[in-house]
């Protein structure tokens, strides 16, 4: 077997060094009945070519672009990944290292993570970002738990109904069973934004935190400043959740609008769609809250000669030191995805990221105009959006299915998560879509 170097001569020599006679002796202390039942009903191994062929076959049984043009977003966005990103994350030195426990031989990972934290903090407009969490949904759940740690007396947390439904469900799963933390949903108003009047009412008694999407699940840009203000006034922690982090290339930053804890999904920064993962949970907060933060942190320090270097730090928050009193149970995070995002953001750069976001916004508006003209779609909510928007059109589900036959994944049907929106689709457009692609979308959805 090409992955295992042992020759029979190696085995014999090693056994004899240990003083054993057979491989079975190595496991002789394991109960016999366990050994006996441990046969594996798994076919024999394949050579590399055959294994590759099987995977090519499975990959070929999925429909992807250009055969199936993808206008679905809803938490996972089709974006272009510059080739440099993938080249860097394929470097064996990055890909096959562990968490940098020995900093002197892990400066590559550590410095890159320090750069990642800097970029994420800047993007979210907050002082400190961690080294990543699993994804946007679990980052949201961690944000809620952190709010509870900061506000231990509060017994509720308010979560916008316009958060991505899966994110809301994950928060519920995380909270289930945690004494003294209920989860209430803030309804959305007719314009798709958080119903501020309802929120006002719900802020009494003060919850631990208020969680809103930015943009929300409908692609809509919430008035985050106003919500943060109301939340602060009630003595709670305002939390923003961004499922499409590219939005923050153009929108005002959560931190700048008064948000204290920001969670986001960073998939758009250099991760392929990959059927839902691995993605990248971004998480940032204010400096004063850093010791309540979940997840790893890299910090700058010096070596014995005074040279700059980087180490894992503030580990006393973490499970391997604090065990049941840790701020989170997370250990392995999404390190290589964080590296991909760092490379992506470095390539795009200050102006490039803004421009990319601007192109997304314009393309989405162009797509909307085509859907209006050609497919008779109407914008569902009269509110500003970024690169994704909800439209109402008759027989949305049937048309969506037909578009699929025509080679277009025409967004996602909103009725699945919001029965009241059965006739609506959520559609995104990004820099990967040409004018011709968007025209095809409109045609594919036409009556």
């Amino acid at each position: 077997m090409r992955y295992i170097p042992h020759t029979e001569a190696d085995v014999a020599a090693m056994l004899s060094a240990i003083g054993l006679r057979s491989l079975d002796d190595l496991v002789a202390h394991i109960p016999q009945d366990l050994l006996r039942q441990a046969t594996l009903d798994v076919p024999d191994g394949l050579g590399e070519a055959d294994a590759a062929r099987r995977l090519v076959e499975l990959a070929g049984a999925n429909r992807v672009s250009p055969e199936l043009l993808c206008f679905a977003g809803a938490g996972a966005y089709p974006h272009f990944v510059p080739s440099v990103v993938d080249h860097v994350i394929q470097r064996s030195e990055f890909a096959t290292a562990y968490t940098p426990y020995q900093p002197e031989v892990s400066q590559g990972t550590l410095q890159a993570t320090f750069e990642f934290q800097t970029l994420v903090a800047s993007l979210l407009g907050l002082e400190v970002a961690n080294a990543s969490l699993y994804d946007g949904s679990t980052a949201t759940a961690e944000a809620v738990l952190m709010a509870k740690r900061l506000m231990p007396k509060a017994e509720r947390v308010l979560v916008a109904a316009s958060l991505p439904p899966q994110y809301r469900q994950v928060v519920r799963t995380y909270l289930e069973g945690l004494a003294g933390l209920e989860c209430d949903e803030i309804p959305f108003a007719a314009d798709g934004r958080v119903d501020r009047a309802a929120l006002e009412r719900m802020l009494e008694p003060a919850p631990a935190g208020v969680v809103v999407g930015y943009p929300n699940f409908f692609g809509i840009v919430e008035d985050l400043g106003a919500i943060a203000e109301m939340t602060h006034a009630a003595g709670a922690i305002p939390i923003s959740v961004t499922a499409e982090a590219l939005a923050l290339g153009i929108l005002r930053s959560p931190g700048g609008l008064g948000i204290d804890v920001a969670a986001a999904e960073g998939q758009s920064f250099g991760m392929p769609l990959s059927f839902g993962g691995p993605y990248l949970g971004l998480f940032a907060t204010r400096e004063r809250f850093v010791r309540s933060m979940p997840g790893r942190l890299v910090g700058e320090t010096v070596d014995e000669q005074g040279r700059r270097g980087y180490v894992l730090t503030l580990a006393t928050r973490e499970q391997h030191i604090r065990r049941e009193r840790a701020t989170s149970n997370i250990c392995t995070n999404q390190g290589l995805c964080a590296l991909a995002a760092t490379v992506f953001l470095a390539l795009a750069g200050r102006r490039g990221l803004r421009e990319l976001a601007d192109h997304n916004a314009r393309k989405a508006r162009y797509a909307l105009s085509r859907l209006r003209e050609q497919a008779g779609a109407e914008l569902l909510f009269p509110a500003p959006f970024f690169n994704e928007f909800a439209v109402r059109l008759p027989q949305a589900r049937r048309r969506h299915e037909r578009a699929l036959e025509r080679g277009v994944l025409a967004g996602v049907t909103l009725g699945d998560s919001f029965p009241e929106l059965e006739d609506a689709l959520l559609v995104c457009a990004t820099e990967v879509h040409s004018v011709a692609d968007m025209d095809r979308l409109a045609e594919a959805l036409a009556a």
């Binding site: 190696d10 394949l46 938490g75 289930e176 069973g177 700058e300 290589l336 490379v343 470095a346 795009a348």
Partner: protein
């Protein structure tokens, strides 16, 4: 002029990104918009931010060069023997990287209707089957993103079942040698952690479990082989005790690399376990992740698995949310799919015969290395080990050096260090897991290095205590990092 430290990698030094570049440079350029797109409008100015403070501006080559240079400052499993105990730093096949990047996987949107994603779903269903088979469990969910996330799912499942029986119960029993994620995950599910002392063989004491287990015991979390690399001999008895009280046995499957084809957790009384695909099944650790931590259960717990579930029907594979007892969703979408592809590629490459051999060779390597080191380091426990072995610092202490010093000096020999100071029950623990990927020659070289360092400590302990000497930076001041945290780059104040 002296040349203090070597350039590690081709760059003498590489500043942080933010100290490179120049305003106006671009590493990623977009085609111009069509007029119809441009005139479609953008986000209203009052919603727009001013600037992306600190973001650099670099050419494509500057970015590439920066990260290539950084990469060379890492030791990694591909380039160095990386005997980190409990981490299973085995070979991460290049083929896995290639197949995970096939367009049919990489470009597949997670909300593609199942009819257009049959390949992905079939792969997942097959992988569930393979994991169930090798562990002797009945049902698997691939969703958890890492081991700890799998633990969380697993304990939530246990809790959901107890709740369905009336109440969640209060405690989870956890041996002191357990990994920190076990108590942390239990606490995150609202449980009290009840520590179980290890006996003087480094194993769970069944009597202690019998004393501690009661009607409030939701579960016991057992790592088997445990973090000392020892097979928990009394696992069946312990399981029976807990089962008797109506509790469940959670098996931390991080050490499955010692069990494939040797013993199945499902036969030991385990009710629920997580896999670490990034350990046993060769997906790369990525400098910290991503991983994948599928959770497997016995039939009785299957209804509680997270949604969605993959279902095979007449029309092929579909995703079902129809599971009223489920703990719900534990993350968006279906797991770290890209990692699942890699693990699947590994499992079909290895096959049943290969897995069995891999485990045996992993055990052989650990025992062989243990033998080579027995003379120079003190074994924490001398029961027969499986895939890893743990030494204490008692020999080192006598020489006036610490475990940390040995670890740092090993770096100078071109080896990553073992896991150190874990498990907590061993003084100055040195936990070594060679995996099956390494050759006898490498193990011999590593053993020789340990011998050389111990000899050196006798002659010149200062040299060992000030190690590493040949790495890009010398020992880093971790205390300073924690006292005055600098967690992001800041532009130097203008002077």
């Amino acid at each position: 002029m002296t040349d203090p430290r070597p350039p590690r990698g081709p760059g003498l030094d590489e500043p942080v990104l933010f100290e490179r570049g120049s305003p106006g440079r671009r590493g990623y350029t977009l085609p111009p918009l069509a007029e119809s797109e441009r005139s479609a409008g953008s986000v209203a100015p009052e919603l727009c931010r001013d600037d992306l403070e600190d973001f650099p501006e670099l050419s494509e080559m500057e970015v590439l060069r920066h990260f290539l240079r950084l990469s060379q400052w890492n030791y990694s499993a591909a380039t160095n023997f990386y005997p980190l105990g409990s981490c299973t730093m085995k070979y991460n096949p290049v083929l896995n990287e290639k197949v995970a990047r096939l367009a049919g996987f990489a470009d597949l949107h997670p909300l593609t209707p199942p009819g257009a994603a049959q390949g992905a779903l079939e792969l997942m269903a097959e992988l569930e089957g393979l994991l169930a088979e090798v562990s002797g469990m009945d049902a698997v969910s691939l969703q958890p993103a890492a081991g700890a996330h799998g633990e969380l799912a697993g304990i939530k499942i246990v809790r959901a079942h107890h709740v369905s029986q009336g109440r969640p119960r209060r405690n989870v029993l956890i041996p002191q040698s357990a990994h920190g994620t076990n108590p942390a995950s239990s606490a995150l599910c609202g449980y009290q952690v009840v520590p179980v002392a290890s006996n003087d063989e480094g194993m769970i004491d069944p009597a202690a479990v019998a004393r501690l287990a009661d009607g409030e015991t939701a579960a016991i979390m057992v790592t088997n082989p445990n973090t000392l690399g020892l097979f928990e001999r009394d696992i069946a008895r312990v399981a029976a005790t807990v089962h008797e009280k109506g509790g469940f046995v959670y098996l931390d499957g991080a050490n499955m690399n010692a069990l494939l084809g040797v013993a199945k957790p499902g036969h030991m009384g385990a009710d629920v376990l997580q896999f670490n695909l990034h350990k046993t099944f060769s997906t790369p650790h990525g400098g910290g992740g991503p991983g994948a931590g599928p959770v497997a259960v016995k039939q009785v717990l299957a209804p509680y698995l997270p949604v969605p579930r993959i279902v095979h029907g007449d029309g092929g594979f579909t995703l079902s949310e129809d599971a009223p007892k489920s703990i719900g969703r534990i993350r968006a979408f279906y797991g770290n799919f890209g990692m699942l592809v890699r693990a699947y590629a590994y499992m079909i490459s290895l096959g049943g015969d290969g897995m069995k051999r891999a485990t045996r060779m992993a055990i052989l390597n650990a025992n062989y290395l243990r033998k080579q080191l027995e003379g120079v380091l003190e074994l924490a426990y001398d029961s027969p080990c499986l895939h890893e072995c743990v030494f204490s610092d008692s020999t080192l202490e006598r020489l006036g050096i610490e475990t940390l010093d040995l670890a740092k000096r090993l770096l100078d020999h071109g080896f990553y260090a073992p896991t150190i100071y874990f498990p907590l029950i061993v003084s100055g623990a040195i936990m070594i897991e060679p995996t099956e990927s390494e050759t006898r020659e490498t193990l011999d070289e590593f053993a020789a290095a340990v011998h050389a360092i111990v000899a050196e400590a006798r002659e010149d302990p200062g040299r060992v205590k000030s190690a590493p000497h040949r790495t890009r930076v010398s020992r880093l001041d971790e205390v300073r990092a924690a006292r005055r945290p600098r967690l992001r780059w800041r532009r130097a104040a203008p002077s």
